[in-house]
Structures are given as C-alpha cells and as structure tokens.
C-alpha cells in the first residue's frame, strides 16, 4: 500500500470528506511525526508503535570495493518500535 492508496482507502470510507482534505490529513500526520523527530522528540502512538531518534557515533568505515578506510561522522537515525497491540495482531492465528 502506497501513500496514495492509503488516501484512496480513507476517502472511500469517508465519503463526506473532500479527497483533498483526506490527502492533507495523511500528509499532516507524517509531517508532524517528521517535525517532532527532527527536533529530537519521540512520538508515541500506543497500540501502533513509537518513533524515536537514535544516535550513531562516528566510526571508521571501509570502501567495500577498494578496502580503503573512510571516516563516517556521527549521525542520528530514526527508529520505530512496534506497539504491543500491532505486534500481537501480526502474529494472530499463527
């Protein structure tokens, strides 16, 4: 399912809304999560999961082709931990 399919499915279930508004809702949700992570906040959505930012320290990497050592600087990476309810749903009936 892509973002546009998600919008289409929501629009179908909510015929009283303009398609354009459904699009704005979906875009807003992901933009807000992105903005929160960009300032170092954590986003916790009980039952679904939590987004957070993890720090990766600097390290010496290697160019896999030449074997040459390269400095990789410290960076932040987004991380998602699946919520309990969703995790249980994924494994329901197995």
């Amino acid at each position: 399912m892509t973002k546009s399919e998600l919008i289409a499915r929501l629009a179908e279930a909510n015929p009283h809304l303009y398609h354009r508004d459904v699009e704005r809702i979906v875009t807003t949700v992901f933009e807000e999560i992105t903005n929160a992570l960009a300032i170092g906040n954590r986003v916790e959505l009980r039952g679904f999961g939590a987004f957070s930012v993890k720090n990766r320290g600097p390290r010496i990497g290697r160019n896999p082709r030449t074997g040459e050592a390269v400095d990789v600087s410290a960076k932040y990476i987004p991380y998602f931990k699946t919520g309990k309810k969703l995790r249980e749903r994924l494994n329901a009936g197995s």
């Binding site: 399912m1 892509t2 973002k3 992901f30 170092g40 954590r42 986003v43 009980r46």
Partner: protein
C-alpha cells in the same frame, strides 16, 4: 534537542489546525490513518509512505533462546516482525540541524 514525547493528542491537534474538521473528527481521522496502516500490515502488505519511509513484515524462523537468569534453553517460535525503513528524506531531515555538536 527538546526530548519530549509527542502523542495522539498533538497529532490530532495538528490535523485539526490543518483541516476544517472538529477536534473530535480530527482525532477519529488520525485513528483511521493508523488503523488502515495496521490493517494493511496485518494482511501482510508493505506500506510505503513517500518521503517518510516504508513498513514491511519480515518472517523470523524458529531459534533456541536462553533464559538469561537461569541459563535454561527455551524455543523461540517462528514469528512475524515489523521493520521500518526510513526514507532518505526523513534521515536527512533528522540530521539537518546541528544537534550533533551538543550531543
């Protein structure tokens, strides 16, 4: 870095500010977004949100685990796990300011 936690409340408020719906309906729509994503994942679908990232399901095989306290061997059953792969856009948004200097 502020380090506080954003929840449904703030996301619902952002939807409310953006679209001309009531607070209640905004909260319901946020929930509907999360539910649609969960439904798709529970069906084994991969969910790709452009400029954010993709959620996919990975099947894990059975393995032998160990109770770290007692040393006892316990089987870990095969299971499905959700993997989130952030998009390049999200990764660069998170690294664009200079928080690194203080961290």
């Amino acid at each position: 870095m502020t380090g506080s936690t954003v929840t449904r409340l703030q996301l619902g408020e952002a939807v409310y500010q953006e679209v001309g719906l009531s607070r209640n309906e905004s909260a319901e729509l946020l929930e509907a977004v999360l539910n649609r994503i969960s439904d798709a994942l529970a069906n084994g679908e991969t969910v790709k949100i452009s400029s954010f990232g993709s959620f996919s399901i990975r099947q894990k095989g059975q393995r032998i685990g160990r109770n770290p306290k007692t040393g006892e061997e316990v089987p870990i059953h095969p299971r499905k796990v959700l993997v989130f792969r952030p998009s390049q856009v999200l990764k660069s948004r998170i690294n664009e300011n200079s928080r690194l200097e203080t961290g």
